[in-house]
């Protein structure tokens, strides 16, 4: 439907997607294929940013259900995506995986929620913020990035009434430094907050440490290389809590995730390995 540049190097792709507004849960993803050619061959996973219904002004056209994904131009596949035009067809598989658990699907809806996003990791947090706000939670978003152009969607969150705090490595937007330092301060201010995070692995590692120290419940959304998205290829596995060489406990990011409760994962070993 549309393919808009949100910030330098980041695009928002709107796709006509019947039933997605009803089906898609916060934190779920889709596997997208934009060509029937063999290069790129595999689909790519994208977190669902938001869904909605576009009311056409013209009574001839029925309301159109749609979903949005946000992508960063990093290689061949995402470069091709920038050339998509309204009317082009894409091959969509989803919604896939397990999303964030809050409210009805968790024991209690949190009163205070801290959402931590690193760069494009903010994407799956938007629908979560919508849900938490609907449930009456006080939602605060902490966003980190290398530089100001890596900070996305602040306006969209603020429109929901979410307080937003930004930290960038170079100080070009918000405060200079790591978003985890902001988290540390917020955790001491809101000791009963639930934390929901998505971003690069080193950030998630630091977030997990802070939350463990503060005994704050944490859910993380992981990113992984994926081929199938349906739990068959076992390419996207992460080590589960009980993992050891003798008793392997691998979890599929696609099928059992991409959102995990922090205590489901083996934090002593997830770092590093996926940094290659």
């Amino acid at each position: 439907m549309y393919n808009r540049e949100m910030a330098p190097g980041y695009y928002c792709l709107g796709i006509a997607a019947p039933e997605y507004p009803a089906l898609a849960q916060p934190g779920q993803f889709v596997m997208l294929r934009i060509t029937r050619d063999y290069d790129p061959l595999l689909r790519r996973p994208f977190g669902i940013f938001r869904t909605g219904v576009l009311q056409g002004g013209n009574p001839q056209f029925p309301p159109q259900e749609y979903m949005e994904v946000v992508y960063k131009v990093v290689g061949h596949g995402t470069n091709l995506m920038t050339r998509l035009n309204p009317g082009d067809e894409v091959d969509l598989l989803g919604p896939l995986g397990n999303g964030f658990r809050s409210g009805s699907s968790a024991t209690v809806a949190p009163e205070d929620a801290l959402l931590v996003g690193g760069g494009i990791g903010v994407v799956p947090l938007f629908m979560l913020a919508q849900q938490l706000v609907d449930q009456g939670a006080r939602v605060r978003l902490l966003l980190g990035g290398r530089t100001c152009s890596d900070i996305l969607a602040v306006t969209e969150f603020e429109r929901l009434g979410v307080e937003t705090y930004v930290a960038t490595d170079d100080g070009t937007l918000g405060e200079e430094g790591l978003v985890t330092l902001v988290l540390e301060r917020k955790l001491s201010k809101y000791p009963h907050a639930h934390v929901f995070a998505c971003g690069p692995m080193p950030m998630l590692d630091a977030v997990e440490q802070r939350c463990r120290q503060a005994q704050a419940p944490l859910q993380v959304s992981l990113e992984a290389l994926m081929a199938c998205g349906v739990g068959a290829c076992l390419g996207c596995v992460v080590k589960g809590r009980e993992h050891s060489a003798q008793h392997p406990d691998y979890l599929c990011t696609c099928k059992q995730g991409p959102v995990f409760a922090a205590q489901e994962l083996n934090w002593s070993s997830t770092a590093g390995e996926d940094q290659r």
């Binding site: 063999y38 061959l41 595999l42 091959d91 081929a227 739990g231 076992l234 596995v237 290659r276």
Partner: protein
Amino acid sequence: MSTHANKNPSLEVNIAGLKLKNPVMPASGTFGYGEEFAPYLDLEQLGAIVTKGVSLLPKAGNPTPRLAETPAGMLNAIGLQNVGINAFAEQKIEFLRSISTPVVVNFFGNTFEDYVEVAERLNEIERVDAVELNISCPNVKAGGIVFGTDPATAARVVRGVREKLKVPLIVKLSPNVTDIALMARAVEEAGADAISCINTLTGMAVDLQRRCLRLANGTGGLSGPAIKPVALRMVHQVVNSVSIPVIGIGGIMSAEDALEFLLVGATAVQVGTANLVSPGAMSEIIGGIENFFLQQGIEDINDWIGSLR
């Protein structure tokens, strides 16, 4: 247009006594244990289901990254992660018993004794309709030499498992050999009832920015359309070297690809990487084969198989 154009062509093929309603089945490791794909296609539609490889003990698999995409292909180094034969017998086969499509269980071992023991166990499990022996594994006791690259070693494993089994034995050949025909004849002589080929081609990918190998394992198996010409050549060569049925594998993405393998003499085909790209891929391929035969006025798939001029 011919008078029989509206008659549905027969796609039925026979692999060593195993009757398949059509020649299309998944390649091991790209279809889980079947259940994962039930939401995306009708499993009853398939010629057979081939499971992920099982071993005696559960296997953790390799560290990540396990995947690297390459032009028109992908490298994988999953490392044969699987639940082990016990969990397979207790949890995974149950679902497959609920469908009538023949079940082919792929298996492997780290030693000769492992292979034989898994074969013994598989023989006891109800609804294991055929087995597929993966010999592309390093022989731990023999210093890591791959079973499937030495004709004598491969023949010994085939003989060892053959005498434990009452169901058809399909032997899956590795392409990473100097002469695949030699391997094919060796396993045929040792008692294989059918051959499937090819497994993945060993490859590598590097990351220039980080100056490292892209797979944690270093090397991985190349699959996808990139390997199809190599696979076709090898299937053709094997078909002409043995008299047992051959199942063609390697980069099949479409009905046309499958028809090419059948034309050079494969009795059936396995679809691998395509399942990962589109979980419903085999359904389209089966439909495409049928349509092609309808257009060509071919009533029986067996008139097409090996009919290369």
